[in-house]
Amino acid sequence: MLKGQIALVTGASRGIGAAIALELAKQGATVIGTATTESGAAQISQALADVGGLGLALDVNDAAQIQAVLKSIADQFGDVSILVNNAGITRDTLLMRMKDADWDAVISTNLTSVYRMSQAVLRPMMKARTGRIINISSVVGHMGNAGQANYAAAKAGMAGFSRSLAAEVGSRGITVNCIAPGFIDTDMTRELPDNVREELLKRVPVNRFGDVADIAAAVVFLSSPSAGYITGETLHINGGMYMA
């Protein structure tokens, strides 16, 4: 379905990003996954070896590194036609206790990176008259969550960014959307104590945590030619926990 496409997925060494990278590759795209460390990049290369893809080290906070990575992708494979902004961090704490560094790190890695990455891939997409930008946000950006003011602000910011960019580049065949996962079974949510997990589950009508494959499937759909009329939208995938 995605043969000939070049997909770039940030934060692809584990969790949701790893599943997205693998699924895009299985659908025929050439996938470049990024991680902050060389060992993470090597892990991605290994995971994608059989399906067509590569891991690269990239700090999404570093504009020069972004340019360098995109150049090496263009030289080796061609211009990126699908960008999945998935890299993200948390620095959870109640606002009363939040430090500037907690705020800045989360806004920079989760939101400013989306601006940087999108800007960097836009020119070739405009020339090609087609492209897909998919931002992985979070249900928390819409519901709010105590202890995550920084994270929620960044994730909600993605939605406004996506709607604005969608308006700018729609005429060039480029769509910009968000996917907002609910509670997905990953390393991050496995760290939660059992009683917290049980409480969370009570709020999910579908009565299970989401699987990374639930998110990856939606990324494949939004990347596909069939989704060309969907833009500026947020797709909520949360088992009914939050119905927008």
């Binding site: 020119r123 405009m126 700018e168 580049v169 005429s171 060039r172």
Partner: protein, 78 residues
């Protein structure tokens, strides 16, 4: 036709998908060649690439015709 004039017209016709014959010195990008705001941004970026320069936003705003683009390149590049 000077070399710069030729290069500018080639870029304009490529970017705006217009026939080179229709790209005249007095042509306005928006009124005559049907450019939208995004086209004009792309055009300026293409000029920057071709002539290896950076055109500041306040200058770019003033470039609305083929002749103005030629003049800008002529007076700002060695």
């Amino acid at each position: 036709m000077s070399d710069i004039e030729q290069r500018v017209k080639k870029i304009v016709s490529e970017q705006l998908g217009a026939n080179e014959a229709d790209v005249k010195n007095e042509s306005s990008f928006v009124d005559d060649l049907g450019a939208d705001s995004l086209d004009t941004v792309e055009l300026v970026m293409a000029l920057e690439e071709e002539f290896d320069c950076e055109i500041p936003d306040e200058e770019a705003e003033k470039i609305t015709t083929v002749q103005q683009a030629i003049d800008y390149v002529n007076s700002n590049l060695k």
